[in-house]
């Protein structure tokens, strides 16, 4: 290869890496997984460097050749069958690079997919997807699944911030895939066998009521703010998130179900509605529970700076009719809010038991059979 060509190619490669960096970095969604999220993203970028260099070298060479060696009158191609030395070089070097790429994945791969934290030291959850919903089951006080004090929850997965979460997963019907993009978690969930996943969310998603944007706060930042959180069973609260169209200039929000509340391309904005009273009117000045400095206090809605916002949980495996909207919500929250939520669920269960004489869990023995009748490893004590 001639020298000017060489220099041009090196420049093309360098410019390429730079350009790739500029255009590409922004697309990955935020990464909240403190356990291994950064490792996944770093490996992604490691490959990107190799790919970008290769891409700009080969495409650069291609374009250079097309321009430089276009047919001109009287010029003949130089007859040659190739060069063994060159071929050897460009077989062995990429070979080693590819092997190296495979090897650098190894530790992360086993760390993520087989080195699960002990369930007794983490938050353990059973996940059972069905067409088209996510069922979650917490083990309750006894630390074992499939017992009477288990807690059931539909579509809402609550996890404490900064703590490892381990899931035992099995499907009720077809294959689904447990995908939390912002936590870099994906694992297929099959009927008839158990798969597991784990992660640790180190940041909390919140909705900024002033800027109308989602933000991700550390626990310390969260504690310093006043954050309202959605209504659960026995507390009055606000409604949301709701979807519609926000006028960028005026800030006016029109919900989905009203005229002008839908865009033709389906893109939608998010909003949180102030709490409403029983008649449906806005209860301005009404006190709602707000999290602040590690405590839950009743304060007027107007004081809230943020609203607690869920992460998307999606199903990544084609699973039928409503696959596209098999959305779950992952609530990352401070430990005390997580405990508070568990207690609330416990209270509502006790209330149900009192009213109907049986726990909501045992009220559906057939449903229990679904959870417990499949395979032994799915239930039982912490491992």
């Amino acid at each position: 290869m001639k020298k000017p060509g060489c220099r041009a190619l090196a420049a093309a490669a360098a410019a390429g890496v730079f350009l790739t960096g500029c255009t590409d970095m922004g697309w990955l969604p935020p990464n909240l997984n403190g356990a291994y999220g950064d490792t996944v993203d770093e490996l992604y970028y490691k490959i990107m460097v190799v790919v970008a260099v290769t891409f700009f070298l080969t495409e650069g060479l291609l374009i250079y050749s097309i321009v430089r060696f276009r047919a001109a009158s009287g010029r003949r191609a130089i007859y040659s069958h190739g060069s063994k030395k060159t071929e050897l070089l460009w077989s062995i070097v990429p070979g080693f690079i590819l092997l190296w790429l495979a090897l650098v994945q190894k530790d992360a791969w086993f760390h993520i997919k087989s080195e699960f934290p002990k369930e007794s030291e983490a938050v353990a959850v059973q996940v059972m997807p069905e067409q088209f919903a996510w069922n979650f089951r917490y083990p309750g006080a006894d630390g074992a699944f499939g017992t009477e004090d288990d807690l059931l929850e539909l579509n809402n997965l609550h996890v404490p911030v900064g703590k490892n979460v381990v899931t035992r997963m099995s499907s009720k019907d077809v294959i689904h895939s447990f995908f939390i993009p912002l936590l870099r978690v994906k694992q297929d969930v099959l009927p008839g066998m158990m798969t597991r996943a784990w992660f640790r969310a180190d940041k909390i998603a919140v909705w900024n009521l002033k800027t109308h944007k989602i933000e991700y706060l550390t626990l310390a930042d969260f504690d310093a703010r006043k954050v309202a959180f959605p209504a659960s069973t026995d507390r009055a609260g606000f409604v949301g998130p709701r979807y519609g169209v926000r006028n960028a200039a005026t800030g006016v929000f029109i919900p989905n179900d009203q005229p002008g509340g839908k865009r033709k391309n389906g893109a939608r904005d998010i909003d949180y509605e102030p709490p409403r009273d029983k008649e449906g009117g806005t209860a301005v000045g009404k006190k709602i529970p707000i999290a602040h400095r590690g405590k839950i206090e009743d304060r007027p809605w107007e004081e809230a700076e943020y609203v607690h916002h869920p992460l998307d949980l999606a199903c990544a495996e084609l699973c039928g009719l409503q696959h596209y909207r098999m959305r779950g919500m992952v609530w990352v929250e401070p430990e005390y809010l997580f405990r508070n939520w568990l207690e609330e669920r416990e209270r509502s269960r006790a209330q149900y038991l009192e009213e109907y004489g049986e726990s909501p869990f045992l009220a559906a023995p057939k449903w229990q059979k679904v959870w417990d009748g499949i395979h032994a490893e799915y239930n039982g004590a912490f491992r």
């Binding site: 590409d24 097309i66 130089i78 069958h81 019907d173 870099r184 099959l190 391309n265 939608r268 039928g320």
Partner: protein, 600 residues
């Protein structure tokens, strides 16, 4: 001269319409039968893609024109919008049609059939009747698949990969999992047989019927690629065929080969007749075929690109031996990488590690091929004909498709991008950017040989330009969608907070896809118009070396008046063997320079 030639006898060409065009055993007619059938399915699969893109740009909005005509039929609801299950059927049928009824039939059925006997210097394939039978198994397969659009609840909706239990449990699991899925399985089963018979035929032809002097190292790379593809077809397709029989048995005979115990659908009681089976079994069997199938989809394209690049660069292929070795390397490794489709499936991580390593390594032979194409262009003298523009586009786009594959091979990275638009971008860069560009290159290149006429070059150029621009505008942004986590096979991303901001990009992609689709009409008009009205072509319009260019255009019924004797490799351009009349040296021109048949 040789004993071989004495044994050869020429049949009289058939005279009746039936034997000439319907039950023909002539490899050239069969090639065209495959080609025209595949054109029909290309149009159909392309239309499905347009509807998919409409839905993704404007979710659940009525489709203009077509939607109002097809209200309450096929995939549309009473307003003429795509139904949610309709979307699943669209992606399922688009994938199935494009892979099984467009790309494979064109590459193997059309190009394989047309070129192999010509390239080895034979009068037909080894088993002409078997060859006709292959097509007549393929056509009913296509008819059956097409018919599934018209059955109750419509065609299959479980993806082209048809994962059980979704594909197994019948209509209770999803509309389309009943009759539609059964027809899908029957069609794939028939197609599999067609493919196996075709593969055996081609293997025998290439091994046994090469003309005198045509050693393995003088075989054109396009035929080498067909040879390796035929091995894949013969060894891998039976596995797919048995998988379809197993799934049919689950669906029709009440077995539960893919169904574990305790599956619950809507009712409180578990689904009867389950137990003992395993859904991962299907995935292993399916991908054991379907990863090699990915190479069936690309290797012949690589072969076509090699031939075109050598011809129009007027230079021998750089490293012919390495090109062949890498084909064989791809074949060897191609059988042990299937698990890279299953990294997230629940398969053991240790097994995943092994599949990751083999998958990384299979990038090497593909890389070597790219380097050798670039080496061929170096110091060459490039003619920018329409076929060459397609071949150069093939290289440029295959590089992108190959490189994006590395991300998916890396297991931890795959955790995030698995089943997102990243994979959609990747395989469209390989199968459209790669293979379809090679197909367009090959069709415009061999068109004179097939029909005795030339295609219009100006419109050929316009088609290439619009396709190249439209393709990249449509598919490159899909990398960004994938990087953002946009799941594939969802009918709209607008249900999710983390995907909402991507909707304008979905619109952009759709409009680019509409441009890309419209550009293909230019090709069809040019193709069929030139068949009747194109300029009459000489025997060797491109000044090419391989044997098909030594016989008349269009190729006569018996291919060669005399079975040619081969004196040199296929790519002796600009060599001293060229006798001074030009820069090419036909494979069958005697070395003393007396004859230069192509120049007649």
């Amino acid at each position: 001269m040789s004993a071989y030639e004495h044994a050869e006898h020429i049949h009289a060409p058939p005279t009746t319409f039936f034997y000439k065009y319907v039950w023909s055993t002539d490899h050239k007619v069969i090639a065209k039968q495959y080609l025209f059938t595949a054109f029909f399915f290309l149009a159909l699969g392309g239309l499905l893609a347009m509807v998919i893109r409409w839905q993704l740009a404007y979710p659940f909005e009525p489709l203009p024109l077509i939607g109002s005509l097809l209200k309450n039929t096929f995939v549309f609801d009473s307003a003429g919008s795509v139904r949610p299950e309709g979307f699943n059927q669209l992606v399922t049928m688009h994938g199935t049609i494009m892979i099984f009824f467009v790309i494979i039939p064109i590459l193997v059925g059309a190009f394989g059939n047309f070129l192999i006997p010509l390239h080895v210097g034979a009068r037909d394939v080894a088993f002409p009747i078997l060859n006709a039978l292959s097509y007549w198994l393929f056509l009913p397969a296509g008819v059956i698949l097409f018919a599934s659009f018209f059955v109750h609840e419509g065609p299959a909706a479980a993806g082209w990969t048809a994962y059980p239990p979704l594909s197994d449990l019948g209509p209770a699991a999803t509309p389309g999992s009943g009759t539609g899925q059964v027809l899908w399985l029957v069609a794939i089963f028939l197609l599999g047989f067609s493919s196996i018979l075709g593969g055996l035929n081609f293997l025998t032809t290439i091994i046994k019927m090469r003309a005198p002097g045509l050693t393995w190292s003088r075989l054109p790379l396009v035929t080498w690629a067909q040879f390796v593809t035929a091995i894949f077809q013969t060894l891998a397709t039976p596995v797919l065929a048995s998988a379809t029989v197993m799934l049919l048995s689950d669906k029709l005979l009440g077995t539960s080969l893919f169904l574990p115990a305790g599956i619950h659908l809507t009712g409180d009681e578990p689904v009867a007749a389950t137990g003992g089976g395993h859904p991962l079994l299907w995935q292993h069997i399916f991908w054991f075929y379907s990863h090699p199938a990915v190479y069936i989809l690309i290797l012949p394209g690589m072969g076509i690109a090699s031939d075109l690049i050598a011809t129009f660069a007027r230079k021998p292929i750089f490293g012919y031996t390495a090109m062949v070795t890498s084909l064989v390397g791809i074949m060897g490794l191609g059988f042990i990488v299937w698990g890279h489709h299953m990294f997230m499936s629940g398969m053991s991580p240790a097994v995943g590690m092994a599949f990751m390593t083999s998958t990384m390594l299979i990038a090497l032979p593909s890389g070597v091929k790219v380097f050798n194409w670039l080496g061929t262009l170096w110091n060459s003298s490039i003619r920018f004909t329409v076929p060459m523009l397609h071949a150069l586009s093939f290289v440029a786009l295959f590089i992108i498709g190959g490189l994006s594959g590395i991300y998916m091979a890396a297991t931890p990275v795959d955790i995030f991008i698995h089943d997102t638009y990243y994979i959609v971008a990747h395989f469209h860069y390989v199968v459209f950017g790669g293979t379809l560009f090679a197909v367009f290159g090959g069709l415009t290149f061999w068109f004179p040989k097939m029909f005795g006429r030339e295609m219009n070059r100006k419109w050929g150029f316009v088609h290439w330009l619009l396709t190249f621009v439209g393709f990249n505008a449509a598919f490159f942004p899909m990398h960004f969608l994938g990087e953002a986590g946009h799941m594939r096979r969802i009918s709209t991303p607008t249900e999710y907070d983390f995907l909402g901001h991507l909707q304008p990009m979905n619109e952009w992609i759709s409009w680019s896809a509409f441009l890309l689709g419209a550009a293909q009409l230019i090709f069809l008009v040019n193709f069929f118009g030139s068949m009747g009205k194109g300029r009459k072509s000489e025997a060797n319009p491109w000044k090419s070396n391989t044997l098909e260019w030594s016989t008349a255009s269009p190729v006569p019924f018996h291919n060669f008046d005399r079975i040619p004797t081969v004196y040199r490799g296929p790519y002796e351009y600009s060599s001293s063997a060229a006798d001074g009349r030009g820069d090419w040296a036909p494979q069958d021109a005697p070395p003393d320079g007396r004859g230069h048949p192509a120049a007649h």
